[in-house]
Symmetry: C3
Subunit: 673 residues, 3 copies
Amino acid sequence: MIGNEKIKKILYGGDYNPEQWPEEVWEEDMRLLKLAHVDIVTLNVFNWAMLQPGEETYDFSKLDKIMDLVRQNGLKVFMATSTGAYPAWMARKYPDILRTPNNGIRRKFGRRHVFCPNSPTYHKYAAALVEKLAERYAKYDNIVAWHICNEYGGACYCENCEKAFRKWLQKKYGTIEELNRVWNLPFWSHTMYDWEDVVVPSLLTEEFESDGIRTTFQGISLDYARFNSDSLLACYNMEKQILKRYMPQISVTTNIMGMIKATDYQKWSKDMDFVAWDNYPNAEDDAAEVAMRHDLMRGLKQGKSFALAEQTPSVNNWNPVCRLKRPGIMRLWSYQAVAHGADTVMFFQMRRSIGACEKFHGAFIDHVGNEDTRVFREVKALGEELENRVKGLTLGARTHADIAIVFDWDNWWAAEYSAGPSRLIKYCQEVKQYYKALFSGHYLVDLISVEDELSDYKLVIAPLLYMCKEGYDEKLREYVRQGGTFLSTYFSGYVEDHDLVVTGGYPGRLKDILGIWVEEIDALPSEEENSFIYKGRTYPAQIACDLMHLRGAGELAHYESDFYAGMPVITEHIFGKGKAYYVGTRSSEAFYLAFISDIAKELQITPVINAPEGIEATVRENENGNFLFLLNHTQDTVVVPVEQAGKDLLTGKEYSKGDDVVLNRADVVILQR
Amino acid sequence: MIGNEKIKKILYGGDYNPEQWPEEVWEEDMRLLKLAHVDIVTLNVFNWAMLQPGEETYDFSKLDKIMDLVRQNGLKVFMATSTGAYPAWMARKYPDILRTPNNGIRRKFGRRHVFCPNSPTYHKYAAALVEKLAERYAKYDNIVAWHICNEYGGACYCENCEKAFRKWLQKKYGTIEELNRVWNLPFWSHTMYDWEDVVVPSLLTEEFESDGIRTTFQGISLDYARFNSDSLLACYNMEKQILKRYMPQISVTTNIMGMIKATDYQKWSKDMDFVAWDNYPNAEDDAAEVAMRHDLMRGLKQGKSFALAEQTPSVNNWNPVCRLKRPGIMRLWSYQAVAHGADTVMFFQMRRSIGACEKFHGAFIDHVGNEDTRVFREVKALGEELENRVKGLTLGARTHADIAIVFDWDNWWAAEYSAGPSRLIKYCQEVKQYYKALFSGHYLVDLISVEDELSDYKLVIAPLLYMCKEGYDEKLREYVRQGGTFLSTYFSGYVEDHDLVVTGGYPGRLKDILGIWVEEIDALPSEEENSFIYKGRTYPAQIACDLMHLRGAGELAHYESDFYAGMPVITEHIFGKGKAYYVGTRSSEAFYLAFISDIAKELQITPVINAPEGIEATVRENENGNFLFLLNHTQDTVVVPVEQAGKDLLTGKEYSKGDDVVLNRADVVILQR
Amino acid sequence: MIGNEKIKKILYGGDYNPEQWPEEVWEEDMRLLKLAHVDIVTLNVFNWAMLQPGEETYDFSKLDKIMDLVRQNGLKVFMATSTGAYPAWMARKYPDILRTPNNGIRRKFGRRHVFCPNSPTYHKYAAALVEKLAERYAKYDNIVAWHICNEYGGACYCENCEKAFRKWLQKKYGTIEELNRVWNLPFWSHTMYDWEDVVVPSLLTEEFESDGIRTTFQGISLDYARFNSDSLLACYNMEKQILKRYMPQISVTTNIMGMIKATDYQKWSKDMDFVAWDNYPNAEDDAAEVAMRHDLMRGLKQGKSFALAEQTPSVNNWNPVCRLKRPGIMRLWSYQAVAHGADTVMFFQMRRSIGACEKFHGAFIDHVGNEDTRVFREVKALGEELENRVKGLTLGARTHADIAIVFDWDNWWAAEYSAGPSRLIKYCQEVKQYYKALFSGHYLVDLISVEDELSDYKLVIAPLLYMCKEGYDEKLREYVRQGGTFLSTYFSGYVEDHDLVVTGGYPGRLKDILGIWVEEIDALPSEEENSFIYKGRTYPAQIACDLMHLRGAGELAHYESDFYAGMPVITEHIFGKGKAYYVGTRSSEAFYLAFISDIAKELQITPVINAPEGIEATVRENENGNFLFLLNHTQDTVVVPVEQAGKDLLTGKEYSKGDDVVLNRADVVILQR
């Protein structure tokens, strides 16, 4: 799909489920989709039961009809494999396919996305189905990419998973002695003498619930998180290999979901031909939060453009309170995706179901069944605009950021499993604090993994780098030594890959780079705070306060109160040709903005624009030029001065240097320069 | 009991459990009950283990003694069957009798009301016991009615229920294709090919917990709610048939509980000879809430009087904080029941237990064991008053209301299973808003089912008629066409009987009657609101706001803010000879009162009295006259002018037209006119 | 240990886990422990898996090395038996060892302290291990005491427990008829005919969750609480008997935990040679709360000194927010333990682990691995001070209190299982209200069991004596008759040993002593209160209000509002040569202080000192003199006048009568007089 030379414009469309409707509705669907300028549909997401009515029988007749219908109507297809929900008869005959949650009670048939990833039955029948699909539909050249399964996630704790976990461990650690070492099993008499001693960590074993799932053996739970992510990925790869056997050239992917804890997408993305993701912000998410997820998704493929695979045209059905997307917001958020690297604008769903839990989820075609709705008018206008104005101009365009934030699933898992210093420490929350400051300051930023290159960036920020994996300290050391600037925070450098503390003082192997020694960490309840003064202004110190000693670094601020008043909290360390900053506490967005702006100034990193908060600005570049995206997330009209001449793709209006761009509420401008 | 010609007065008494006490206490009980003017006791509610010590053995010796004792003492009996709690040995030998909650883990012996309604063992042994009871006690002519089991409720999810559910579905839907259609099973690949594919919906399948039980397949969960209610009802009918075989003339019923979600009492009441219910308000319930439940209970039998089967003389034991009923409140609430149609005033319990969980539940005879208590003095005084003042005068009296509120269990289940638009939408809460307005305005009201006749009413209000069942739109259409006035609200008319959306625009088949089209529905969090102006006053619009278009109706008010400011929110539609009103949002009680008062005025519906809030007024009529009940629920003395001459049953005082009735806190007046 | 003539000073040290570390670290440990003046280590707490690698194999080689190492380094040993956590292989082979929680789902291997106390496997292999340990290490004369298992607690609900419970009941009650009587089983048809009918009470049977675990059969749940405590105690005694067989003279104990509901320590303490306890205050606990637990622990052995077996040097790891102990607090709290009777100051742990859930729990030796930390400096200074200043002077000293508070596990269980009058009634909370008043008033107090002698006390306070066990009323009656003063509260005297109400009026068998009759009890929600005036000041009446009649007692205060305004709430009754006071509600600490101070004055009980709140004062006496402990828990400097000359053990400073002791924040003074 992405990178497919058949694609000449931003693809527009989304999930289409005609199998839920009588055939007489299909022709009307075609009329309405055309009216809305739809050019792609995602098909066959949940058809397993229809395609395989029994163990030995398959029935592709209805899918054939659908495929022919959409091809005849000139629609491209994002072709799913239907393996996200198995048939009822399969669950009844082969209970091993049913997932077992962490309470140890095996499920029965129901819901979706609840297969056991290590079920032999699942692997056998999913493979058989995909084989048949590949064979049958390989010839449809309107299929632009394959979409494996759907929104992989969750975890299983059954006996098949237990067996597979033992094998995974054996492969990873070789000997039981090494397992005892990395999990620190002599603690609490857990020493194991046989691989069979290993049980899956769950609420029956090491884990318990208290503000989420806690564990008494972090190493075990952490490895299970890795194993489970790998198990789901193995399901994906099982299908991918079959598809590639039949269609070596076709793009294959799955629709992922942004910041989802269960699945290490940085590992997954290596096996995905392009990134496709479903953007469903929660009611409380702001524009920065969504932007961050787009940047994370873009980062999975080192900046390559991605597919926005799903979003709602109007309303989600699963929120406790389902607010409508206000007029213009669907368009604004669609362009936000494009501004961050999307080459498609796709939705769930084309026609609203009449039964079961998604019947009140928004759609192009509402229950009223015609085009005379606010939502249809909005999606039609956007379809028209994308087709006639944006066309294919931004396809493949890339964003060049000088600042990177390190994001790492292992850190997410490990930092939040930790017993102490504080359950208020939330990995994504910490990352978001830094992201939001950069977003407010209109800086471009990449979210990168610990495997990504650092040398392209002037500033690398690694919040809560609790786990500094084997070799990563050396990578950072080299980066700074060669002139890079590094910023890290409290609760960093504590452990190596297995959550074993690096002795000799915190922050472990980062000590020399940062030029500090953290002796203790004091946790503050949410209603209390310390403070520090940075450049004359007082900022809060919250949640966790490092009690820190300088070991080469210089102090930029110190605590103002409590028994550690006067101890450094913000430091700066010249190391090689570069510098390393350290923020020994959680502070406010205002501090992060002030502090990082100072660093950026020193590093000659300039913001994209100079504009008030609530205006989002990004830049993408390709062979068609440089595109400045301006999006107004506020409720007001805002004026942004143009620093470089250009033409707005959407209106055709030309702006000279010094002109004002006037953005009303929810307005979007794409200046081609 | 009710309608039994042997009954000449309001029966007074309640649950009596002498089997928990040594026999030497019984004579003292008799003395005290007589002192309190008790004339009826409910016996044998929890004696199964005593009556059937083993599989083959029965022992009625103690029950015989009790029966003889109360007969000798001139007491009538409301005779229970003891099937609400099975013996321990039965649970041990036949685990199929044990209920399985929605987590899939079968219970062990304990508590009560926890039999599986589809257990063969339960049916076999309950039938055997009832047969023996019927045979043995048929001859006791002081038994005025039989009381089957006790407070049926809850749900089971075991394999026997699963099998029975499949049969129930097969009978209802005939073919698996029809099942696939009504449950919309093509969604999420749920298509079934065999009845064996059906599993009970539970936390192991489609359901999950999040502000109560949610489901991903509303159709399945809804049918299970119906099935479960039917299963419990089948247990009741199994016993009833046996009793009727032995005593064709005797009244048979069971004690129900007001607004209980698990049991569709409108369906149940058809099999109950009279309605008997247990009134246990929660700490936070006000007088209107209790009144509403009385009216719902009265409506089950189309206005026939009912039995107040249980209430506490002084204190419940199960509340987190068990407040005492203040002096006079027990009497006030007893008369409230009578005011709404009760022909009995009965209590749980006569003597307070000394062990287990109800030992701190109130009783006529407290642990101190004598008559020198506040509570005994109050119950004695009430018993005396009922016997000497009220006598049988109000028996069988009926209330004639011009206003009906439609209440429907299917709507309760379906509206609250819905995923979207808002979990803040609560069926009973919505009904209560309307009821409270009518209560405050001193209007008489009936709570009716969708099967009840409409033509007797001038105004029919159907709040949240989310599910408009087959034919009900036609019934409403005809009613309005013939001159009736109908009022409905947001989230009405969406689905048919199986929770499948009626396409073509909301509110589905009610569109033409109401003269509107609802395009979208916006959900508001509890801390936000919109507003509208009605007759010069501003009222809130909360929880859900319809985005509505007039299709024949006229606008009475529109939204004041947000992007749908100016769109209609309250409408009026002339249809045939009648009118249909629509309230497109949740508003305040003040609005409902103002709005409905205007409608009432137009329809010449007059309030019972003109009095301040907190004074409750109802009217009942029979061959003895017309009885105006006045109850003071406030803490103050209130004066109510008499509009029609009459004599107070309780004091004998005569009032002429224009006189003032002075009601002190908790006072009751019953004017016979 | 305690009372061991080899002990000449306050022992200092704690848990040491060298088996988690490579041997090369051990020598450094020895250097650092010596530096910190450590003289005792607790060893072998969690080594079962190491010591018994398989069913037939044992391996003591590493433990031998450790034992030799510490002996060579002159360290004493508190020798644990490692039975708190079984090996993984054992759980795999013998699942009966795994605990089954109250949801009925058996655990799998994981965590610790999760053996089934009635598991044959556990008993067999724990016995075998202890036998081998006893045999092998009996000869080590640096072992000063044995430490069985670790922190016994929790409960199991498996089939082995069920069988054992039946036997326990059979032994206790003899006949099934008696069981039916004491559990009041005729209620709800629970009558049993066979011991096999008994099932363990759990969430599958009588219990449910609602603000903690509730039950419908208090008698059953109460007996299970007793049985479970006994089952755990039987595990302890099984090990103890083996140890005593090998070492008849050695002291044997287990580390208990203060106020832990599951384990009736008053019963346990009879089998413990001395009391050893782990002091881990929660974040919200104040000094009074900790003091109360120390006094409870001291009371277990009728005032004998005890071992402080564990506390953290700096930070717990399991709190949601893990605050550091502020500088000086570790020392202050260590001396608080000594002030209340501790003869040891011991910690968990000597060296911080690097993996699993306790790696962020404080230790003498932190992850940095050296002595240059705040925490090490503090523990070293304290070690030095104890060795050089306090030495053995306070060993064995006793506290003589005139006031006793009755604390009783059965009351804790029973009062909180009660359904009604209010779940806001919390046993420990009520006890603590009284304790805090006495603490604020600087009175010495003992916490005693219902088996302890009363005659030594001038005042006995029994808050919430809900259950007045067989004979205890007579003991109290005799005490008061002979001149003692007794104070009790609302919700006292209701039930006998089996939670069966004593009929004839509340407070049951205490009525004559207190001279009152409580007719009803009104429960108040937490946001409401009544009030009363005592000696001119108004105090609140909260949670529960007795509606009480005088039956010989005199009224000291009455309610000011509600329908029971004017009824007595505080009473005084002259009975024999003594007096009985009654407080019919929950009031404020200010009231308790005022009221008890008046009583104390009358009884000529004097406070230890006259000082502001926040200064703690205790007195201990032995053959070396009388020691006045003064501890400053405030943040300020406080001056306390010396009423009796003495010398401060810690500074050597001499004080004459009338001198001022100046205590800075966290300061401690121990005046030897």
